[in-house]
Amino acid sequence: MKQIDICYKYDGSFYGMLCCVFESFEKKEMPIGIFDRGGSLFLVKNIKTDDIKAERVLKGVQDKMGIIGVEYVRLAYLASIKDKEIAIIHFIKEGLNKGKKFIEEIRTGFGPIKKMVAGSINNIFLAKIQKGIDLLLLEKQRFIQFVRFSEVYNRALVSIIEPEHQVLPLLADHFVQRFPNEQFLIYDKTHCLGLIYTNKEVRIERIEDYQMPDLSNEEKEYQELWKMFYDTIAIKERKNEKLRMGFMPKKYWENLTEMQ
């Protein structure tokens, strides 16, 4: 692959990103950057999203790396990783060469144990992807804990979160299985996306600037009850701020009912 001083621009979607991968492989070129919003100092090549090309990339990944390879690409796409798209091109390139063993290697860090000691997992981009995915999955766990719903619009549940990574697709199963008979919206303010579950169907939609509606008195009352429970349950003789912050980092407090 030759390095070229050109940027790719795409629509930000998963398939759009896969089309950037397709372009890079087909032209045997490595762009200097890939982005979806804003402008660039470099010459820009617009990459159109084409489902057929995207699916060809996915099929190639699955044939060589198995279903887990596809899962990795998907998770990497959801994670906030610097130069994510470039990293994913490197990841897929390595994976196509090495096949199934490759995922096991980067996942456990055991395979290339000699290289691991020598410096880094030979390719800095692979390490970035692994780290990004780890952080994404950690953040998913955090929001399973820390999503707080308010009841609005006559029994619908709404929560606003500000995740670093695109966690919504990973949260869907958990909340749908838990609340099959509710209607809910989890709004990701960082990425302007909403996870919507109504009439037993779930979807993710782009929503610009969603605001929490006014709360009913009943809702306010439950929030007060919860806050009071939260304050009461702490044993003051055991106060331990450091411990609390370790488990529940401050960045989540803004959207936690009990911390208001």
């Binding site: 055991f110 000699k114 804990q145 820390f146 299985q177 439950y222 919860w226 939260y230 702490a234 609390r244």
Partner: protein
Amino acid sequence: MDMFEKLKILADSAKYDVACTSSGVNRDNPSDGIGNAKACGICHSFSADGRCISLLKILMTNACMYNCSYCYNRFSNDIPRATFTPKELAELTINFYRRNYIEGLFLSSGVIKSPNYTTELMIAALKILREDYKFYGYIHAKAIPGTDNDLIQALGHLCDRMSVNIELPSSESLIALAPDKSKNSILAPMGFIKDTLTENKHALVKYKKTPQFVPAGQSTQMIIGASPETDYSIIKLSEGLYNKYKLKRVFYSAYIPVVRGSALLPSIETKPPLLRENRLYQADWLMRVYGFESSEILDEKSPMLNPFIDPKCNWAVNHPEFFPVDINTADYQILLRVPGIGILSARKIVAARKWGKLDFMHLKKLGVVLKRAQYFILCSGKRAEGIKINESKVISSLLSKKALENYYGFKNGVQIGMFD
């Protein structure tokens, strides 16, 4: 009395129970109700003391007719009293659950009218949850000593975990401090739960439809520092409970003085022995997960855990004949005994050495704390380079400077504000 007042009183009275885990059982929602249960357990928040909040931890009532002297809810204590109706409690639980505040309910109670009456109230609340709301989330319920077996059984079919709190780690202390209870009244329901659990497991194998009985097992709690038992007798008791009653967990709760001017209890100014509690958890962990026996951790001659060194390191320091162990050949169980090697790093070692011989550099990458471990291990027959082994060096590598002074003080019997 409004809901706000009630919740405040009944949460305040419940907070001294330390168990708040929601783990141990997986239950799906067949789509006709609310909630499910995850075996890993989920903490939804952390209180100012850093403890996990997973369950709505609450009492049915704090209007207790008993008078256990260590207890905040004893009837002679002048505090406001409240009682939930089963419906109120169920509604509150569901509304907290829907908002993703909690994983479920931890229902305990003071004894009102009689143990049976109290248990009936609890059963009524859980029935509303399970049957009317079709709640599939986690429920932990307290079995009240003195309750009839058939009621305990009914309760057990509605909840995931049950616990009978021992509270005081010896019958002498029970007689002195909990005159309405006895060793027997506590152990009887524990034994009944264990037997019913065993029967239930057999029945489940035969008939899939058998209703489950406390699928997440039973646990108990002991108060530490209210009575004079040694750590040795406490962990021996725990070991017995794990073996005999198949308990899932024993919880230890540092005593927080709630009584002024009692001749039998620590004075009101006493700080809760948090460090001692922590060491007991470590010792408990060694027994449950690392395969230690209580007699390996302590004995009659040195019956207290050294507060200045964790019990695993302490064992290692006192058993030089066991070491060094070779990282490339030692069994998993043996690796676990090395200070600086935890469960995760031991597993990683076993997996990684299949790929080739490990050396000290590799170990670091696998998460082994070499600063501690290096004195106890070999890599392919070789010690870490330039290492000299003598007791004081080893010990000082395991401890901070301050802890070091205190460590020797403790060993020599000087008790410098030991459990402050």
